[in-house]
Amino acid sequence: MKITFPHMGNTYLPVKAMFDDLGVDVITPPINSKKTLEIGTKYAPEQICLPMKINLGNYIQSIEKGADTIVVTGSCGPCRYGYFMEVEREILKDLGYEVEIISLEAPDGDIKEFYNRVSQMLETKNIFKIVKTFKNAFGILKKIDEIEEKVLKYRPYEKNKGEIDKIYNHLIDQLRKSTGSKEMLQYIKEAEKNFMNVALEKRQDVLKVGIIGEIYTIIEDFSNIDIGKKLNNLGVEVHKSHSTSGWVLEHLFYESIGRSREKDIRKAAAPYVKTMVGGHGRETVGNAILYAKEGYDGLIHIMPFTCMPEIVAMSILPKIQNDYHIPILTLIIDEMTGEAGYITRLEAYIDLLRNRRDKFQNEKMLSWS
């Protein structure tokens, strides 16, 4: 058995560590590229959303490298994500690939059932070992999330441009080459130390932007054309409202993320969205409000073309924009999204935020005099 899985941000690193620790043959799909998307677009239904197109590309590229088992996560609707695997099964069958698709999920938070499925898949009864390896991998994932969060936050404040990237890229490179979680943790520790030594400077002109919207396009930088870095380069501090570790908890165990934070999000959203609307539509609205209250300069709402829950959110965001006086830019992404047009829109939006802030500050000064 040769296992593969879909890409989403940096999850492939801890996932690989986990399978390595368990001694399972794993084939990491080639890093997302134009080619991946091309393959996915070619074989996926035309109007399916971007995440599935990229996933399908991942599977086919892995199968070509010898994978025969695909491990995915599930969900029970109403967003179509939960039905990806059935469509993918049909497509791969029509293409003549003989692969098995295994869905790892713990329906209704049934963690025991989850570990049962894992042990069945791995043909081992050693649940203890599985749990331990899973925990280690999850620890790594959380650490990587923290690092990413800091990178997006501090990059615009660097004294020596490029220093953070250098450490970060080096780390990812090392993680890619390592086998097992122990080795990875070692490298992460080193990188953390190096990050501490990065010289930062205070800058008043840095803007703060929150990224809200659909989780895959927020996390997977290939799909969002590396929005975080692009904004950082424009002198913007960035915070993403979704992280992979949160996603893992939510999808494997149907467990809610960050508990208290999530309650706040829902509470904030309540006057505008009363119930869940599938995917993270309600969270998008709630996060928008929280960011606005926290004093962010602007919000970028990012979503795949035809994403149902985010279309609901998108319809409601203009009201948040008015009620909370925060400019929101919606970016809809599909396989045709071109980098040039995308950058122009980002730049125009950031200009707008800058002017707004200057104007706001001038007004404040005037009112003082």
Binding site: G77, Y272, I311, M314, S315, I316
Partner: protein
């Protein structure tokens, strides 16, 4: 007091339930006009481009009622069956309406969510009825009475009628019922697409004019649909997705159904999944002609007509030629 009901989305299916319920309670009910150009244009103007046509049109229906009534009934229909949803957009419908349309009268927007069970049904009924009267007994009786009309309607549908056939005269109704000697076509699609004469560009009538009998997923029984769906590895969690896919899988094996048409909305997430599986399975397991028609506000009638015509030609051709060929084939294998 006047209560408006938009003639969009699940209106057709629940028309008798909702209308009689409010009327039994003593309210005057106003239904928005049948979908027309103005309703479509109005809806398109206030919604985000990315929304699907039926949701846009629903907005148009609400706008049609806006100045005519005291209340508009816009239920938040999240789930009508255990462990099944309809669509994320249904979950956020009242919210979308309230943010996109200004100067609305009071919106009656109960949450209907039977994802776990139907225990709350009566509570919801009281909540809705509470807008008209405090008399709980009256609310309950009005609802029970309305349920009868609803059941009656459902039975008619099972007999092969379409919602639009119901306003027809008696003889025409008879015509509409399926005849044994015609060719049968399965028309799949969300009910608000296939039964809305304007949005569907009258596809049912068009097919009937070609001498076809049209059936939809709603004309199949649970016993026909459920066994097909139980074979799938992942439980289907969309109510209409389940009906459509189940009907298609069943129809594939029925000799007397000659072809399948799927009428989808551009940008509909559910259709994108179901139509793809239906197409793959149909091509793999049967020789029945299959076409996918996708609509949005820019779809031209001429293009649809051409495709329907080609589809009908194909079916007629197959009936004339292939039946002969297949008997011939049997002869060969018998020898």
């Amino acid at each position: 007091m006047k209560i408006g009901i938009p003639r969009g989305l699940l209106y057709d299916h629940y028309q008798f339930l909702w209308k009689s319920f409010f009327e039994n309670l003593g309210a005057e009910v106003v239904i928005s006009q049948k979908t027309n150009k103005k309703i479509v244009d109005d809806g398109v103007a206030v919604t985000v481009d990315e929304a699907c046509l039926p949701v846009k049109v629903y907005h148009g229906h609400v706008m049609d009622l806006r100045d005519k009534v005291d209340f508009i009934f816009v239920p938040k229909i999240m789930s009508i069956h255990e462990k099944e949803y309809i669509c994320p957009k249904f979950c956020g419908l009242p919210e979308m309406i309230k943010t996109s349309i200004s100067n609305l009268p009071t919106i009656i927007d109960p949450t209907i969510d039977f994802i776990k069970n139907k225990k709350h049904l009566l509570e919801i009924v009281y909540e809705i009825g509470g807008y008209v009267t405090y008399d709980k007994r009256k609310i309950r009786l009005s609802f029970e009475e309305a349920l009868k009309s609803h059941q009656n309607y459902k039975n008619k549908m099972k007999q092969g009628f379409f919602p639009m056939d119901l306003d027809k005269k008696h003889e025409e109704k008879h015509e509409a019922k399926h005849k044994e000697d015609t060719q049968k076509i399965l028309l799949l699609g969300h009910p608000y697409n296939i039964y809305d004469e304007y949005l569907s560009m009258n596809i049912v009538e068009k097919l009937r004019k070609y001498g076809m009998t049209v059936i939809t997923q709603d004309h199949f029984s649970k016993d026909q649909i459920n066994p097909q769906m139980n074979e799938l590895q992942k439980k289907m969690f969309w109510t209409f997705g389940r009906k459509m896919l189940g009907a298609a899988l069943y129809a594939m094996e029925q000799e007397d159904i000659q072809g399948i048409i799927y009428l989808s909305s551009f940008g509909c997430g559910i259709d994108s999944v179901i139509a793809d599986i239906v197409e793959r399975r149909t091509r793999r397991n049967s020789k029945k002609p299959y076409i996918l028609l996708t609509m949005d506000e820019h779809t031209g009638e001429a293009g649809i007509d051409t495709r329907i015509e080609a589809f009908v030609d194909m079916i007629k051709w197959r009936v004339e030629n292939e039946n002969y060929v297949s008997t011939h084939g049997q002869y060969i294998s018998a020898r």
